[in-house]
Symmetry: C2
Subunit: 409 residues, 2 copies
């Protein structure tokens, strides 16, 4: 029997992120960048907008021409023309004059505001009454009011949402330098594990981890590369890991990470070129038998074979490493967690962090987290769950009514 | 000047979801279903697992053989054999006997539990000492403990996460009946709007809405189909909408939804075959000039042209309709909202719902929502924001320190 491993505390575990460099970058068409991580700072090459624009349908005026205007005492303005959309007006406006304008139109020179059409009345072809005064700047966007030329509008390491995509469109940036999606190899191990298109004989079980881990990798913005299932055999696993080292940026090997007679992962990792075992064993439950190796500066993970353990280790431990090699800035890594209230007492062992699956229910305006107990080999516990809660390493348990924070799954 | 519209309350707005049927279904390979919406109930065609499995490395035993065992007074058991992984053991175990077994191995008949290897010592080839007693069921998963044959394991209308994908793998379901991704047409309008690969002349502005709305559609699980930009011209817009009716499940037309002289959207919708205008105008800010038409039971939307208004209307109004036609069950539609505390007083007009963009900051364990004020034509307000808060229709404003709920953007 091998010795049981010493665990590495999570602070130290997450420090190891800095060992692994971000992946390379690509130029990607704007229509495909949402969700990707920006790999360059973007500086405005002009003002946005580049001219003052109306934000209402109405009349462009000098605000002073409307001062004091009211229903009882309207201002009378001379309509000098109509602003054609998408064109620069060929006239300018003097005090006492107005130009008809639609939303998005360019304000003529001499104007500083727009009177809403609802606050005017047409008297004849060239005269309007204005019933309400406007302030300078009202119902218009000034030149450069959104972004000014030379301003840094987006920064390296931020994940691009729809609004950032729109902003890049505004500046005509058709191709954007973003980090590549990290390619992540997935290897399920175990003599008892069979592909899902086979019928299990007694003692066999279909491969679940390949599908759950591939799906999580996609959600994390990575590209899963699935290798064939490997039996409990050192040479076969070494062969697959050698392939993974060539073709991927990170590898996830599930099963074989513990210290039993058929647990080859750590020996295989040690046999890879330029490999350092960073840790074997972390103080979390489920998920204690987790291995991280630095193999030519690529993270190689040994994950537990139990389906729930593998998913939880992915969510709380592996995912931050994927964020790291994806190029995400550290200050953008953290996610806000949903607060909830525990429905029942729950015990925990000191000296480890317990991750408890919970179902969420809203009752009387309170969000309740209901623990779902069950063995870490039972996938039904993850299917019923909406999230995880963490019970700290120095805590013996939590009482009914305790405030908890939800890690969504 | 046209008459200003009457707004339709949001309760009524969301009731209109039931007008629109879900899209058709497809059989999709298991590796591509995560994030899709299940279109069938899945019933277990067998037990999961189909045999009792060890969850630890050790010895399969009858629990009773270990009762009373301790360090000082171990139980001595005869090792009858080793369970080969992925095979049915060819022997059975009697009281006083044990079978060596690895995690995931099939328990031999006659056993009901597993003693962890850490709690045993090998005496000779055929004898072990056991230092701790186990209870029946310990360190094993029983046949059918995860799911039982005949049980409904997943239901129509649920979005498939990684864990549901893994569950379908466990049952060998290689292709899954899911709802198609709704195809959503996107049409930007306005004489002043130009494609992003052109340089704007004075008075022109690049098309932002196509990019923001396409990105939001993808995030919502839809497939955006982008049409060329349409000028302020009835016939051109009618032509594009006619194409959208043939090729898409929903259409989003941005710009031209208000009541000005160049706002053709409502007239175009009215000219489409079998079209009913469901509403024109909703009591929200920004986003009041929003149109929904039922065109041959496809939702056709007129969205405001202002970039921020279009994004907010998409997020709070359009998205639930996409969920509806995507086949999501009503009980699965709601999302839990993150609670936060407002950093400053904010005023609001009664009679409308205000959506305020906010930035989130965590200080002293409290999540603060800081309002980002700015015109609805300024995209920078959405780029700076982490979420929206809603100020209700009967509320004149919120005070600093008020509890708010965050709609993520």
């Amino acid at each position: 029997m091998k010795k049981f491993f010493e665990t590495t505390n999570l602070e130290k575990v997450f420090e190891y992120r800095s060992v692994f460099p971000p992946v390379a970058t690509d130029l990607v068409p704007l229509s495909e960048i949402t969700g990707r991580v920006l790999a360059v700072d973007i500086v405005a090459d002009g003002n946005l907008p580049d001219f003052a624009r109306a934000t209402m349908d109405g009349y462009a005026v000098q605000a002073a021409s409307t001062y004091g205007a009211s229903e009882g005492s309207p201002a009378y303005l001379v309509v000098k023309g109509t602003v054609a959309m998408g064109e620069s007006p060929r006239f300018s406006i003097c005090p006492g004059e107005a130009a008809k304008i639609s939303t998005g139109g360019m304000l003529p020179s001499g104007t500083d505001s727009v009177v809403m059409i609802e606050h005017t009345e047409t008297i004849d072809d060239s005269t309007i009454e204005v019933y309400r005064s406007v302030a300078p700047g009202q119902h218009q966007i000034e030149k450069g009011e959104d972004f000014k030329k030379g301003e840094t509008i987006l920064s390296t390491g931020q994940r691009l949402r729809p609004q950032e995509t729109g902003l890049l469109a505004a500046f005509g940036i058709e191709r954007v330098k973003v980090f590549q999606r990290p390619v992540i190899g997935i290897i399920s191990t175990g003599d008892e594990v069979i592909p899902i298109d086979e019928s299990p004989k007694a003692g066999q079980i279909r491969d679940i981890n390949t599908y759950t881990l591939s799906s999580f990798v996609k959600e994390a913005g990575g590209v899963p590369v699935v290798f064939d299932i490997v039996g409990d055999d050192f040479d076969s696993l070494l062969d697959k890991c050698t392939q993974a080292l060539v073709h991927t940026d990170m590898a996830l090997i599930s099963g074989g990470s513990s210290v039993g007679s058929r647990d080859f992962t750590i020996e295989v990792f040690s046999s890879l070129p330029d490999a350092t075992i960073l840790f074997h064993g972390i103080p979390i439950s489920p998920g204690k038998p987790t291995i991280l190796a630095d193999v030519r500066h690529k993270p190689f993970w040994g994950l537990p074979g139990h389906v729930v353990s593998a998913m939880i280790v992915f969510t709380v431990i592996v995912r931050p490493f994927i964020d790291r090699i994806s190029g995400l800035s550290p200050q953008r890594l953290s996610k806000f967690r949903l607060p909830a209230t525990l429905t029942r007492n729950i015990s925990s062992a000191q000296g480890r962090i317990d991750y408890i699956r919970v179902r969420l229910n809203e009752r009387n305006g309170i969000l309740w987290a209901e623990p779902i107990l069950g063995k870490s080999g039972l996938i039904n516990t993850m299917v019923k769950a909406d999230g995880l809660i963490e019970i700290g390493i120095h805590t013996e348990g939590l009482n009914e009514g305790a405030a908890v924070e939800i890690i969504p799954i």
